[in-house]
Symmetry: D3
């Protein structure tokens, strides 16, 4: 549904374009996307951007720094989201 | 006041640490900080992170990409914040 | 609990009144409620207002336009909520 | 700046399209835009959508109902925004 | 306007009731209101609840603790709001 | 993971400190934490602070007043969170 509709198609393309390689490399954009996902406490976005980070070969430490930026900006109400991110990293064997 | 109090001192140091050079270079952290500032529509944060971006020699184009990430994530209610960011860049002669 | 307490009773009545037929017809208020639910990413509110829209005979196309208003205003972090709305419409056989 | 850049051009067009006449008349979309602006406490958005409402011949009473929907959804932290909306309506001689 | 309209009258009364003396003393409710105002970054709310705190004889230290709760919950994007609160306390000679 | 990392250790300690007994008793801080959790619609935070309230011997009525402060501040989009809080209180036999 979201894909075949012109609005969502344009919106989706714009989102893809925003996160594609530019003067800021895609890896850093995905890390930013993860920080934003933590800060806005968007669970699906966390999973999506963790996969994006891994696809761009972001390291475990880079991903953890991105999570911290989200927590620092958004405060302790983002803790459950940070925990979800760490659980996901564990499930994906990125961390122990 | 905020500086001499132990809570704010620790909180401030943690924030500085989060945005300092790490496995993610400080430049990309400041750009992320700008994306977050746009998305959360925090005017003072926008000015603060634009200055951080410039201090880290982020280019005009990198700054603009960071603004776009904030707008894309946060939608049209972030437009006034994006406008403020562009106005600030203009005042600082970063853009024409 | 929420119903027998005076605060929640008054709050609930005020909410009902706000969404009842007025100079703005109830159908358009329910569509607005859906836009707001998408934008604020409130899952229960999405289900509630989709049912409200359908009860007021809002068409499939009107409901889709209301979802778009929410996504446009709130950006890509509302995507999971839009997806939930479309899934709900599918489950209710409103869309294919 | 925002107009000449392709991202902002596309984003802006998508926003215009979303708020243009559709199966939901533009008047009701502008009223929804006002409700959202109150709820998200976006001052510039409030001024923008009040003008949009007036351009679509929304009545004083319709505008007031839209403000109430925003306050009801977003709670007492939206009060300063509702006050700004009423002050704007007064300045524009829409209300006494 | 907001006072003479039935919706706003009821909403305002409900808000007054919520913040009036109950099993939680009004002083602690005002301090909670201040924490919420910091966390939601509502400038007018900050001024309003600081005055409420002072009217209830909250001490300087209690007010500062309430500000910290807001900052802790909402993260570094609440810093400008905390700064506004401290500036207000200074202007009111509550702190040096 | 979160505990052995220095950032999360410091952040967690700061959070614990903020919510510990001070000039504002811990009981009232936990009640404030609950109000904030309702307003920010953070489900895990609601469970966490309800337990904190109970550990501090907050009464049923105090907890209910704290929930109302959150709903009043955050509006009807917090209703699902209030419902979760009441369900939790029921499960814990705090209310019938």
């Amino acid at each position: 549904m979201l894909d075949s509709d012109e609005f969502f198609e344009t919106f989706g393309k714009l989102d893809d374009l925003t996160y594609s390689d530019g003067v800021i490399p895609k890896k850093y954009k995905e890390l930013t996307g993860l920080s934003i996902s933590i800060l806005t406490r968007c669970e699906e976005c966390i999973l999506y951007h963790i996969q994006g980070c891994l696809a761009e070969k972001a390291t475990r430490q880079e991903i953890i720094e991105a999570i911290k930026i989200g927590v620092m900006g958004g405060g302790s109400i983002t803790y459950p989201s940070a925990r979800l991110a760490f659980k996901t990293l564990k499930d994906l064997k990125v961390i122990d």
